[in-house]
């Protein structure tokens, strides 16, 4: 078996998710190649070559792959897929955009967001917003799979894989990148943070999210939000933790003013330790919290910041 992993990268750096996808590839077994596609990606390729378990890094460095638009990136992967039994990518918005297109170009099914590898053709994945776990078996010769990063521990860095260029350049007259508006933050990325503190509708308004800042600073935490808080317009969408937002599994998750709707729980219930602060002691969030504090968050948060 041989596996091709599409590297995830942002702002000229290899994204942490890639090391988790390589870990999933190791569980499948076989040679693991990483494809780094993009424009000016030499440094990213070198970072990928250091990941344990990687045999070879293939680099498609061309303006055609800037921003990893689906049309050229899928064409590139479909071109290379013939050499492999499995094509893997993170279940990020990039992976989810590109991989189904690759699968259809190769006339095979795609398996989304696996959380465990049972065998080279059998995987576990959440369905119904994580309310059931399906075990699925692919009958296709080529398996095209997206990997939920929180399901696999990242591989370490200590390797020195060979790096080789890929010459194939995809034609694309159909789609053009216009612009990107990314949230600017000095805090860790939600998906990679060891501590996450999230606010819900109980925060009352966007201004009150500042109450989380001091605590996040002290804990080195990322700040998230429930869908209710996003829909109420308190904070932008990219802060959303849940089935329809980011899936996180930090060491410590602190849910503040969050009732614990199923859709939110699906995004954080694999966290190691969960703390809930809510004034409603009947809130479902307490059923999954390791430590629950029934309190008014407007009193508890300043006190917590002071005690830390």
């Amino acid at each position: 078996m041989s596996i091709l992993v599409l590297a995830e990268h942002h702002d000229g750096a290899l994204a942490g998710a890639t090391a988790h996808v390589v870990a999933a590839a190791q569980q499948i077994g076989g040679d693991i190649d990483v494809l780094v596609a993009g424009e000016n990606v030499a440094a990213i390729a070198e970072a990928a070559a250091k990941l344990d378990g990687v045999s070879k890094v293939r680099v498609a460095d061309n303006a055609a792959y800037a921003h990893l638009l689906a049309e050229p990136t899928a064409a590139l992967l479909a071109e290379l897929a013939g050499d492999y039994s499995h094509v893997l990518a993170a279940a990020s918005t990039t992976g989810k955009n590109v991989l189904p297109r690759v699968a259809a170009l190769k006339d095979v099914a795609q398996i989304s967001e696996i959380i465990a590898v049972e065998s080279p053709d059998t995987f576990k994945r959440p369905i119904y917003a994580g309310n059931a776990i399906a075990t699925v078996q692919s009958e296709d010769a080529l398996k095209v799979i997206t990997v939920r990063s929180t399901g696999f521990d990242a591989v370490a860095e200590g390797g020195s894989a060979a790096i080789e260029a890929v010459d194939f350049v995809a034609d694309n007259a159909q789609s053009t990148f216009l612009k990107e508006e990314l949230a600017q933050s000095d805090r860790p990325e939600l998906g990679a943070a060891k501590v996450v503190i999230s606010g819900g509708r109980g925060m009352g308004n966007g201004e009150n999210f500042k109450l989380l800042d001091g605590i996040a600073d002290k804990l080195g935490a990322a700040i998230g939000a429930s869908r209710a808080a996003v829909d109420a317009g308190f904070v932008p969408n990219d802060m959303q933790v849940g089935q329809t937002g980011k899936i996180v599994a930090p060491e410590l998750y602190i849910a503040v003013g969050i009732s614990g709707a199923i859709q939110h729980l699906a995004g954080m219930k694999d966290s190691k330790v969960i703390v809930a602060i809510n004034k409603d002691e009947e809130a479902p969030i307490f059923q999954v919290a390791d430590y629950g504090l029934v309190a008014d968050l407007f009193q508890a948060l300043p006190e917590l910041e002071q005690r830390l």
Binding site: A70, T94, R101, A109, I133, A183, F286
Partner: protein, 250 residues
């Protein structure tokens, strides 16, 4: 411009699901079914395009059992002009659905196809992208804004970390994210009128495609239950537990 909108019949999003005792699947007997929420957003976007004079005709399409015609009638009540039902009792996954849709796109040549980004049953998030591949069309997935401008469409996409805007040549495939719009409710007179709108029934064989899945569902289990822990009485006690018991802060 003709707009296609694909809809899927799924379990109502408010229903708590149960896994069958034999772990063969989720139990859907006598469970309330509804249109997939992301598909409702797709229908709404198509209707708004028609209200703006961009779309001239809206065709709602579904692939599934006979009962899925209920969801087509809902789409018709919301403003679709006609509907196509590709009827099958097979377990259809994304590739099969995309193949049937691709045939219909080839026959009908819509300028835009709008689909939900994912269905809340299988959570696959694949059909739109696969349809784009099979038809050779560009794709704008996870859309939070769609602006048709002559021969092109600008799609603002919800990506990790923020928003990305791409421009696609038409025809194109768009999949909807949550914040694209807030779907309206169907009004009673429109529900009555929808019963008289045309609804064509075809089979996968009529389209010359096979919609069966090549992914075998081996088993379905309930997720591991997380045990609730303890209630703490104060912030001090909480900080103490986190430091000394859970050891997650120092």
């Amino acid at each position: 411009m003709k707009v296609f909108v694909a809809v899927k019949r799924v379990i109502d999003y408010n229903v708590k699901i149960r896994v069958k005792p034999d772990h063969s699947d989720v139990d859907l007997t006598s469970v309330k079914m509804a249109m997939n929420p992301f598909c409702e957003i797709a229908v709404e976007e198509a209707v708004r395009l028609k209200e703006k004079g961009v779309a001239t005709e809206i065709v709602a399409v579904t692939i599934g059992p006979k009962a899925a015609q209920e969801q087509l009638r809902t789409a018709l009540a919301l403003g679709a002009d006609r509907a196509i039902h590709v009827e099958t009792d097979e377990r259809v996954e994304s590739l099969g659905a995309a193949k049937a849709l691709a045939k219909l796109v080839e026959e009908e040549q819509p300028g835009l196809v709008i689909l939900g980004k994912q269905a809340i049953d299988t959570d696959n998030n694949q059909t739109g992208q696969m349809l784009a591949a099979l038809t050779g069309l560009p794709q704008g997935t996870f859309a939070s804004a769609v602006d048709v401008d002559g021969e092109k469409v600008q799609v603002t996409r919800e990506v990790d970390g923020g928003l990305q805007t791409v421009e696609l040549t038409l025809p194109a495939i768009v999949t909807t994210d949550l914040r694209l719009n807030e779907p309206r409710y169907a009004k009673l007179p429109d529900i009555m009128k929808a019963k008289k709108k045309p609804l064509d029934v075809k089979t996968p064989a009529d389209l010359g495609v096979s919609v069966g899945s090549r992914v075998k569902l081996v088993k379905v289990e309930p997720p591991a239950e997380r045990q609730g822990g303890v209630k703490v009485g104060s912030v001090d006690e909480l900080v103490d537990k986190l430091k000394n018991e859970a050891k997650v802060i120092s």
